[in-house]
């Protein structure tokens, strides 16, 4: 790692101020950022830890029925804390990384990084969540802008995320055998007014909505409804773990499984 200053502000305001410094970078749980720093692939002068910001912690249900989760809430806390309110989201959080990673990694960190194979982007997009930052609220549909790219401005922090809770939802993750990130992960959610299907891991553009499947599932929320559908292998990721065609195939399989398992 290159040397950097470390600060641990206690409030969002202090964190935002600290991030104004040149080449300052926010540190969530560090489960991606610290290995990245170890490879010397980033060179921040200041690392601003968000773990001490109390207002970014915790899980709560809003009056409008949306589940609000602080950006600094760990995967482990979501996995145990959202079981009663949004079980599909809790189950997804419980599949991220491994137990030790889940004790450090955070929702905000994952969404800010937007790894194309991360799980949380599928939940946020598949739920139609709203990403609440220190300056604004960003709908998930506008937030994810391609691999490792989001709508966040320099110095902008994911303070919390508001998840509408669907009637039924499920996340199916098919892991890449080495990293255990999603080779294909599909989050399918049925709401009173429609269906959302978000796919992570598969596309060169990062997480995306499979709108053809959403339309078909809106009329019949059954695996059979999408049996004949497929995503275009062009634009899927092809690498040593699987071809584009394989990932395209898995998108269909995992979507059907998610629909079948959604409760």
């Amino acid at each position: 790692m290159y040397e950097f200053e470390f600060t641990r502000p206690a409030s969002v305001a202090e964190a935002v101020a600290a991030l104004n410094a040149e080449e300052a970078q926010a540190l969530g749980g560090g489960q991606t950022l610290i290995p990245t720093l170890k490879q010397r692939l980033a060179m921040p002068t200041t690392l601003v830890s968000l773990s001490g910001v109390a207002e970014m912690q915790g899980i709560g249900l809003q009056d409008d029925g949306q589940l609000v989760i602080g950006g600094a809430t760990t995967h482990a806390e979501v996995a145990s804390g959202a079981v009663g309110t949004y079980p599909a989201l809790a189950a997804l959080a419980g599949q991220i990384g491994d137990p030790a990673v889940r004790n450090r990694g955070t929702l905000g960190g994952s969404l800010a990084n937007n790894d194309p194979a991360a799980c949380y982007p599928a939940a946020a997009l598949g739920s139609g969540a709203t990403i609440v930052t220190n300056t604004r609220e960003i709908p998930a549909d506008e937030y994810f802008q391609g691999m490792f790219t989001t709508a966040l401005e320099e110095g902008e922090i994911v303070v919390s995320v508001k998840f509408p809770v669907p009637e039924a939802a499920n996340y199916q993750k098919f892991v890449q055998p080495a990293s255990r990130f999603a080779m294909v992960g599909v989050f399918a959610a049925r709401f009173a007014d429609g269906v959302r299907v978000a796919v992570t891991g598969a596309s060169e553009e990062g997480v995306f909505r499979w709108t053809d499947a959403e339309a078909a599932l809106a009329s019949s929320f059954t695996p059979d409804a999408i049996s004949a559908l497929s995503v275009d292998p062009d634009g899927m990721i092809g690498d040593i773990h699987g071809t584009k065609a394989y990932r395209a195939h898995l998108v269909n399989v995992m979507t059907r499984r998610a629909v079948a398992a959604a409760v």
């Binding site: 290159y2 489960q31 290995p35 490879q39 830890s49 482990a76 004790n103």
Partner: protein, 161 residues
């Protein structure tokens, strides 16, 4: 350099560290506690697992300064003061759950975290929980068996010792 203070295995510990100093480097180099190991640089192998405020974490993916004021538990603090192995350690010896010993500190610390949350885990639960702990020697057979035994389950029916 910044001073960091924490509690390690019940004793106050402090030292001067850089911003980039990892918790595992603080333990191994500043405190000379070399029981916690580093086996990879992508936070996957789990040889570095310690507990911070009661939770298993990878000490190679956490900065020392993030542990300011925390209670840290490492492999060195697992046995009794007189050296008597704790239940998990003893089960690892009894069931040959280690060979070269390099992954062992992380395995024991992960097993301890598991049993705290889930006192009688099934075989599948143990295997799943160890997703972040790699062992190259044992084929995992005797590690899983040792953890089952440490949780008080009868392992005599499991294939050969």
């Amino acid at each position: 350099m910044t001073k960091v203070t924490m509690t390690v295995n019940g004793k106050a510990a402090s030292g001067e560290v850089e911003g980039r100093t990892l918790l595992v480097s603080f333990l191994r180099e500043t405190l000379g506690m070399t029981g916690t190991h580093v086996g990879c640089d992508t936070s996957q192998c789990g040889a570095c697992v310690v507990h911070v405020d009661g939770k298993a974490v990878k000490s190679c993916a956490m900065l020392a300064l993030e542990a300011e004021g925390a209670e840290v538990a490492t492999i060195e603090g697992q046995a009794a003061a007189d050296g008597t192995l704790n239940t998990i350690q003893a089960a690892f010896q009894e069931h040959h759950g280690l060979q070269c010993g390099f992954c062992t500190p992380g395995m024991v610390m992960s097993a301890a975290a598991l049993l705290k949350d889930n006192p009688k885990p099934s075989e599948a639960e143990i295997r799943h929980y160890l997703e972040g702990n790699l062992c190259r020697c044992t084929g995992y057979h005797n590690i899983v068996k040792a953890i089952m035994a440490a949780s008080g389950q009868d392992v005599s029916a499991i294939a050969a010792e």
